[in-house]
């Protein structure tokens, strides 16, 4: 059934790594297969943050050669980045197979993404000025500890606990999804899309790529396509209510905004807490309570509802 959560601090940065970990841990019972975070930190000039992996977690248990292959794949990614003129300012290895780079790059991001992902086993998890997208198998504590998220400070975040239904238990099928090739756009989703294949073929004909068979990825690519054509985030989300078929509640985040959309059947849950300086959303109120233990007023957004909040930071 999956659990989704989102939060945004308005007018200031907050301890979003710890807060989102706490929210997602409260939703563990909705999906124990994998956990994902899209955290929005403070951009540093024109620098980009590139999060990518070169293997799946389970690949690391398949023989000795994989360890050398991972090194070779990373070296190939480095070579291709250099070839495109991207300068690596800093690099960290969160795990043996997942990396975080700060890069200076002013070229075509789609070209960079396509070239990097052409490396065997490579997938860009996120590319943006503020966005850092982390996802892996296990619960929120495990992933947060593994990737050192407890001290992450930023303005807003979305997250997901996944119960695999229609696709595999792997990082590729875990949420959030980066809205390739748009910088700083990510999506988490709870539900099922019933016109997935039709819409996917339509978007593929328009030049978009899909890394998984997960219907949630379609929402990210769909919104990216709309925005590429000039639509605002809110307009793209409103269009999605009529054009995406199925039952869904999804959250989307951009460099400075957090949005939510709910289908016209209102079949998937979402609880909203809204105050002057903080917005919290989750599949269950217990997740919001993990950040705000005192009494607060919450409510369910209605069918077909689209809401967007700005961080104003």
């Amino acid at each position: 059934m999956c659990g989704i959560a989102g939060l945004i601090h308005r007018g200031k940065a907050g301890d979003i790594g710890r807060e989102m970990t706490s929210m997602l841990l409260s939703l563990k019972h909705r999906g124990p297969d994998s956990t994902g975070f899209a955290l929005y930190g403070t951009p540093k000039g024109d620098e980009l943050v590139l999060r990518f992996k070169v293997a799946e977690q389970e690949d690391m248990r398949k023989g000795f050669r994989i360890h050398q292959e991972v090194k070779d794949r990373k070296a190939e990614v480095d070579r291709r980045l250099a070839e495109l003129g991207a300068r690596i300012l800093e690099q960290e290895a969160a795990t043996e197979y997942a990396f975080r780079y700060r890069i200076a790059y002013g070229g075509d991001r789609r070209k960079l993404a396509d070239y990097v992902e052409d490396v065997d086993g490579a997938e860009i998890l996120s590319l943006g000025h503020g966005l850092e997208l982390i996802k892996d198998l296990g619960d929120a504590t495990r992933v947060a500890d593994q990737y050192g998220l407890s001290g992450f400070v930023g303005t807003h975040a979305i997250g997901h606990t996944r119960m695999a239904t229609e696709s595999d238990v792997d990082i590729r099928s875990a949420h959030p999804y980066w809205a390739y090739p748009f910088a700083d756009v990510s999506v988490v989703h709870n539900g099922q899309l019933t016109n997935y294949w039709g819409k996917r073929r339509e978007l593929e004909r328009r030049g978009h790529r899909f890394m998984s068979n997960c219907d949630s990825e379609l929402i990210a690519v769909y919104l990216a396509d709309k925005m590429e054509q000039g639509a605002t985030l809110e307009d793209a989300m409103r269009d999605s209510i009529g054009e995406l078929d199925g039952v869904f509640t999804y959250l989307v985040a951009t460099a400075d905004s957090l949005g939510m959309a709910k289908d016209t059947m209102a079949a998937k849950p979402m609880v909203l807490y809204e105050s002057d300086d903080f917005i919290g959303l989750a599949s269950e109120e217990v997740a919001i309570r993990s950040v705000f233990p005192h009494e607060i007023d919450t409510f369910d957004p209605y069918e077909g509802e689209v809401r967007v909040w700005k961080s104003q930071a």
Partner: protein, 277 residues
């Protein structure tokens, strides 16, 4: 000839409503009638406890422990929006919950009077048979699903599919409700003082829905009914019990009932089925 006042209001007697089933027993049987797990309690014996550090199972066990000791008035503090709290209470009880509940709060109850100071998540009071549950803030979707009896009241707004499959009792919403409220409703009454979402009363078999605000759209086989003096009198009395008022007066509320065109569906010819649907 009308056998009961409710027939004049277009409603049937609610013979499935919880404790009222006892009237089907002979006096001798009634003396022997009891629920396993129900307790004789004294409203004058009062207890309170902090649910904050407890799990949902521990909270429910604590309630049973207190009821088995005869406590009839219990105050629960800090429920923390946990799921499945205060369920399966089968006896009279005054229960005050100072905080919010998660999913399936107060489900399968038969008799207690519950007051919740916060909000409730999805499926509050599902399958409730008798008693009252009053929620002071908002409620999630499927509020009062399969309700069989008693009064379920939310002072604020409620999500989608309110009273889905309800079979008796009364649901009162102080604010608005979402889509598909009263979906497949079979008996009972729903009072919505604010606006109602799309597909109100979709595929309802029987029962009555009163709406004080705007209706975004009626569902299949839900049709306007005629508001009578009896409706008005009943609504006034019911709302007064909970200190609520219709924004434009109960006389101006819209009454929705089943068109009953879906009844005897199996007897219809294929062409007729198409017309009905």
């Amino acid at each position: 000839m009308k056998q009961h006042i409710s027939h004049e209001m277009g409603m049937h007697t609610e013979q499935l409503a919880g404790r009222t089933q006892q009237r089907f027993f002979s006096p001798e049987e009634e003396e022997n009638f009891f629920y396993p797990g129900s307790y004789e309690v004294d409203f004058n014996k009062r207890a309170e406890f902090d649910a904050g550090p407890l799990t949902a199972t521990q909270i429910n066990l604590k309630l049973r422990e207190l009821m088995s000791e005869g406590y009839g008035t219990i105050v629960m503090k800090n429920p923390g929006a946990k799921h499945g709290v205060a369920v399966g209470i089968l006896n009279r009880l005054q229960l005050y919950i100072e905080g919010s509940l998660g999913y399936f709060g107060c489900g399968l109850i038969d008799g207690p009077n519950v007051r919740i100071k916060g909000r409730v998540g999805w499926s509050c009071a599902e399958n409730m048979m008798a008693g009252t549950v009053v929620v002071e803030k908002n409620a999630g979707s499927t509020f009062g699903a399969a309700l069989r009896g008693g009064d379920l009241v939310c002072m604020g707004d409620v999500g989608a599919r309110t009273g889905i499959d309800m079979k008796g009792g009364t649901i009162i919403v102080g604010g608005r409700t979402g889509a598909f409220s009263g979906f497949m409703m079979q008996r009972g009454r729903m009072i919505i003082l604010g606006d109602a979402g799309i597909n109100l009363g979709d595929s309802m078999y029987d029962g009555t829905i009163y709406v004080g605000g705007k209706i975004a759209g009626l569902g299949v086989d839900a049709v306007p009914g005629e508001m009578t003096d009896l409706d008005v009198a009943w609504l006034k009395r019911k709302l007064r019990l909970y200190g609520l008022e219709a924004p434009n007066g109960v006389e101006n509320m819209t009454k929705i009932v089943a068109g009953k065109q879906l009844w005897n569906y199996d007897n219809l010819e294929p062409a007729e089925k198409k017309i009905v649907l």
